[in-house]
Symmetry: D2
Subunit: 419 residues, 4 copies
Amino acid sequence: MADLLTNMDEQLLAQRFVATRSHTEALARPLSAEDQTVQSMLEVSPTKWHRAHTAWFFETFLLIPGLDGYRPFHPDYGFLFNSYYEAIGPRFARADRGLLSRPGVEEIAEYRQHVDRAMSSLLAGPLDEPVATLVELGIQHEQQHQELLLMDIKHVLSLNPLRPAYVAIVPPLPNEAGSTTWTSHPGGLCRVGHKGQGFGFDNEFPRHQVYLEPFAIADRPVTCGEWLAFIEDDGYHRPDLWLSDGWATVTSERWECPLYWSPTGTGWSQFTLGGPTVLDPAQPVCHVSYYEADAFARWAGFRLPTEAEWEVAATDRPTNGNLLDRSVLHPSPVAGSGAGSSPYGDVWEWTSSAYSPYPGFEAVPGAVGEYNGKFMVNQYVLRGGSCATPPDHIRATYRNFFHPRARWAFTGVRMARNA
Amino acid sequence: MADLLTNMDEQLLAQRFVATRSHTEALARPLSAEDQTVQSMLEVSPTKWHRAHTAWFFETFLLIPGLDGYRPFHPDYGFLFNSYYEAIGPRFARADRGLLSRPGVEEIAEYRQHVDRAMSSLLAGPLDEPVATLVELGIQHEQQHQELLLMDIKHVLSLNPLRPAYVAIVPPLPNEAGSTTWTSHPGGLCRVGHKGQGFGFDNEFPRHQVYLEPFAIADRPVTCGEWLAFIEDDGYHRPDLWLSDGWATVTSERWECPLYWSPTGTGWSQFTLGGPTVLDPAQPVCHVSYYEADAFARWAGFRLPTEAEWEVAATDRPTNGNLLDRSVLHPSPVAGSGAGSSPYGDVWEWTSSAYSPYPGFEAVPGAVGEYNGKFMVNQYVLRGGSCATPPDHIRATYRNFFHPRARWAFTGVRMARNA
Amino acid sequence: MADLLTNMDEQLLAQRFVATRSHTEALARPLSAEDQTVQSMLEVSPTKWHRAHTAWFFETFLLIPGLDGYRPFHPDYGFLFNSYYEAIGPRFARADRGLLSRPGVEEIAEYRQHVDRAMSSLLAGPLDEPVATLVELGIQHEQQHQELLLMDIKHVLSLNPLRPAYVAIVPPLPNEAGSTTWTSHPGGLCRVGHKGQGFGFDNEFPRHQVYLEPFAIADRPVTCGEWLAFIEDDGYHRPDLWLSDGWATVTSERWECPLYWSPTGTGWSQFTLGGPTVLDPAQPVCHVSYYEADAFARWAGFRLPTEAEWEVAATDRPTNGNLLDRSVLHPSPVAGSGAGSSPYGDVWEWTSSAYSPYPGFEAVPGAVGEYNGKFMVNQYVLRGGSCATPPDHIRATYRNFFHPRARWAFTGVRMARNA
Amino acid sequence: MADLLTNMDEQLLAQRFVATRSHTEALARPLSAEDQTVQSMLEVSPTKWHRAHTAWFFETFLLIPGLDGYRPFHPDYGFLFNSYYEAIGPRFARADRGLLSRPGVEEIAEYRQHVDRAMSSLLAGPLDEPVATLVELGIQHEQQHQELLLMDIKHVLSLNPLRPAYVAIVPPLPNEAGSTTWTSHPGGLCRVGHKGQGFGFDNEFPRHQVYLEPFAIADRPVTCGEWLAFIEDDGYHRPDLWLSDGWATVTSERWECPLYWSPTGTGWSQFTLGGPTVLDPAQPVCHVSYYEADAFARWAGFRLPTEAEWEVAATDRPTNGNLLDRSVLHPSPVAGSGAGSSPYGDVWEWTSSAYSPYPGFEAVPGAVGEYNGKFMVNQYVLRGGSCATPPDHIRATYRNFFHPRARWAFTGVRMARNA
């Protein structure tokens, strides 16, 4: 029989559950029913879908199998709000999430309350370890959707000619980013991956050895000002700087700058969750694809770090940057050379590592085993979290991943070089 | 100087304006903010877009040019809510209307009120003929959008696995459709087109002569029961029955029945504005394309009428069928053979006539000249109005038109044959 | 029992068969095996496919059913070379005709000889009327493919950066086109359609009455010089001149001029079957779509003729223009005002008539009944034949048809107006 | 000044040049002009294009810059036959290579002879090292295109309903594949990459260290018989076995078996370069995608090797398997357990390694630097060569790469597992 949690651990878990759940609702609050309904592209989900899907996760993996007498809120929600779990059964097509006017935001609020009440019973205990692990997974899952909710609604609002703001954002004080400093690392045989204490996703395991050549990594991410120099040096029109698939993309998509940038008569504007603002050259560049990150690095004479290099360099640094708790919702200007600044927050940083299983990786059995492993192809690893990442969600070993053409996440760039 | 309207005529026009405007709002009332936001395919517009666009029409063609001191409600609405008027300037892409969460339903209600207040000033007169003609055009335009609003929301709701009803619909009493009777017409040189009294769209002019061979036309539309016989005789799988483009469509779209029909274990269900119901064989078949109408006619050994045949046969019949004023919102069962029944209402009837200008047709100068003429290619004429058509909107000379693959309008079939 | 042909008629038919068959081979002779293999777009078929398909027609409709002991040349050719006859069975996908390297040009030459030998037996008689009618249909069918072969190979060669010529073409002497003269017609009740003597396609029947308003028709087609004026007056960029679907096409396809025209530094070049040449302003404009023809007419202040107007005006004129027998393979310059010039040859002329069945039209029973009727939707009628049409193939009642966006046929424009 | 080659080395290089060039022509010889013209999908090039492009390589990188007085064969060939070298200038669109009927096979034979004659002058020396390196690169490049030519024509012929053979292939004697044996490796810090003696592509450098966990690798590739068991166990219909992108592909493409397999009434047939044959269960499975290879491995309870594991295991083995010199042109049946059999030949083996630059990789400056580096995204590494790979072209460090959905190369699978 599985070990039971202590009362203290149960209470802590229940508190984290409540806090996470209510944070999601707080993030949705500035949005109208109409805002919460729109799906602006295949990869984007409506806000109300995020709210329902995260409730579905707890209902499906915890309440239905684990709470005696639980009655699902609605017989069709299992079909409507399954994201991609093949083992759970058929699901509504992802591309059509924006067609669903019903259930509306009020029904979804009721659904969440229904699930929260039942979870409260379940969390009152006693809880054994496997159940607690699933609850923790559900919390982490919901935190991921908090960031997705923000990424997605930013995309939705950006396509509206009215250029509406999600919330008012106080612009940060102007700053001056100096030239980058670098931190060297001797390389050699290093250990990477999760050590096993605290929560980690399956893709962070097992901890294992890698051999690294000596390298150096920049102390801060690439700034908008540096990106402007790339643009001005015709970076978007020089095929020699680009991977072949990247060049095909930049050409067919007619990219001329990062997503959400637009030229004004005299300079550049960027669309933010606070609406349009003047581009600040000291801010980390954001909303660039892997292709752009790679091309910029080639232009600059450097390269992207591997995920192992990034992790080795970030280990032992506190996770205290510009994360979601600051509510800035936009990358903050870099101060000076970046020496001493946190590797966390502001922007996810593209690495040159394809998203692959670690040696000895094993997916968890059952439906939750679909969580990470099945996406390990055609994507690249990003590290460090962004201004939309909850601070208790990020760590040095955390592996985020996107397709190399994706730009709607808060994605940026950090340089590395051979030492 | 243009003639002025009498006080009486002004008052009548103002009353019609108010009634039409408030009817649109009544049609939107059963719908949530979420419902009013969704665009389910390219041809469908969100409900709130219809509400805003019909206001835009009055603002653009009457208030801005004609009401002293009028201030447009919002500087961007001219761009957002122009449907297709090239002469008015650029417009927001039709395919992306479902991306617009803002303005929301409340702002659009305010927009409509703003326009209504200003129109009330304008309609207080004095009004000259050209202005009154434009007001009438705006009213007719809004009536068209009332039908579009219903067609469109039916499509939106139909794609939702929850199968929600727009409103509760009382199912009609069961009925028995007998075999069709026919009315013969001697043909010869006939006159068709609008006679010039009362409102008519430009495409109904000029009245002109056509030579017709003797023909007979059925006294009622084709029923669902007859359509079932077509299905059971393998009608959707026999290429000899179909036009070549129709066969390509039926094959690529995998059509097996009219839109909104679905097989149940024991029979057929159809989705209506009242939600799913059991198929009633006595109802006129609805939501079929021109291709299907043509194939059915070939199978039945008859043909579709030309628009001239339809018009000649319908002339002098009162416009009193199952139209929008009955609030049935669905075709009503045919009683008996159909002899004596109205050619109007229930379903628009496909004719075999391509939508072309009448001899001597001239588009009105200016932007409103884009109303009809520029669509005179690749479409087929339908006649008679449907259960979603306002009764004061339809007449014998009225020419509706859709592409031959369209199925989301309330479209049905009436048989004709050579006499 | 069906009537038998006289010996004389049999011999004439056999001679026409041989002449037509050898003409096809003569048209293919300038083309390499590689040239004959390429399919440059969906609508285009490879030359060797045309050669095989026309043999297949005789094999399928005459030899297999009608010649005792006939052995089909190859068991798979029935599948490979069926164009669109659903009643004959499955067929190889049209879009993939360019994938077939086998059979090669030599096997196809053998196939044609095999069919010709067998047809020679069959044509030695005795022949009854129904068989003779099918032979005549096969000859007419092959003549249509002669024009298609030329249209198609022109498209293939035009896409090759080497700009190769099909054959050397002697450029005509320069000419000066004067301003157009017009011929008036009183209209009234007119008869159109085939009178029943000599061959006619089913779509030309039955002869019937139409009522026409008085009209005038231009004595010559629109010239390249006139088209240049349209271009220079910004005709391709003014939405008010275009049908809505036409404007969508011109925009998405980025049309700026007729197909095969290209700007040089100082003027215009056009690609012809003789390779690139300088544009001659006195030539009839060619390779324009219905959308362009319609827009030009609106710009010029006129309109396209209906097919009935065209036919009424052309009746009693000899069919002696610039047709395939002249081997010019390109429209010839117009001399003077065009008064007295032939309505036939040079370019097919778009009419404003959608391609529809005549009143009382009946398709022939069986597979050959698929010849025309099933295409009677979404297309427009063209009249008069072109420089690629065999002279014994054209007549006043002949109805050609293409989709309104098609440009690769030798299609031009003649103006009409209300009288 | 660069070092000069010895006479001996010059002669050897010239001999290799001549042998390679004439081998290409020998491979094209069984193909008709029509066969050599067809492009069956975007990734496939026509045979005659391969022949021309490999000549273009020598002309562009050696003759034009390096042979005094060299006159290019044709001014447009630089545009027509550039594959992807952005630095060389614009090029004809890859998707349209099948549109080019001209130049024909004879002109291309002349082009090759023209280039060969000029190369013969250049190779007569004296030659310095950089030039010799480019000649060697051109030879290696042409060898790659020999395999591509065979892959591509197999695809072209496979789509023809006549199922034609490229050449007659003598079917191998039947065989019995036993169960696989495995070879273990202790892992640890290993060196991989090219040692620097003999030719290597830039992507094989620099040699570097990797840390490997202990592993075992199968002694032979997966056979068709084993693949049949996967099919029979419903492998193509179980989403739990597939990567998410793989499942999307298998679903949308409706894959049910490897490319070129087709069910017969009683078993399976496969299309080969010798035409259709009965499937031999003892043959290595071929023409599977990365997605299928990965799913099979998961089903079998094993995994794919990494490219480092593959290389470490293959080092020191002679390169003597079923390669192009045997002219079998199809994978040969496995004998027994595979112990002692060559890791080379038969099928390229998918590894689980995304195609990425080695640590310290530097692309060569200039246009030839586009050879490999710019493709290092979205592809997976394959090792070992196939029955279509020239034997002097393959080695342990050789990195081939394809997109994970590609199936038209001779691609197969070898199992690995953790030790």
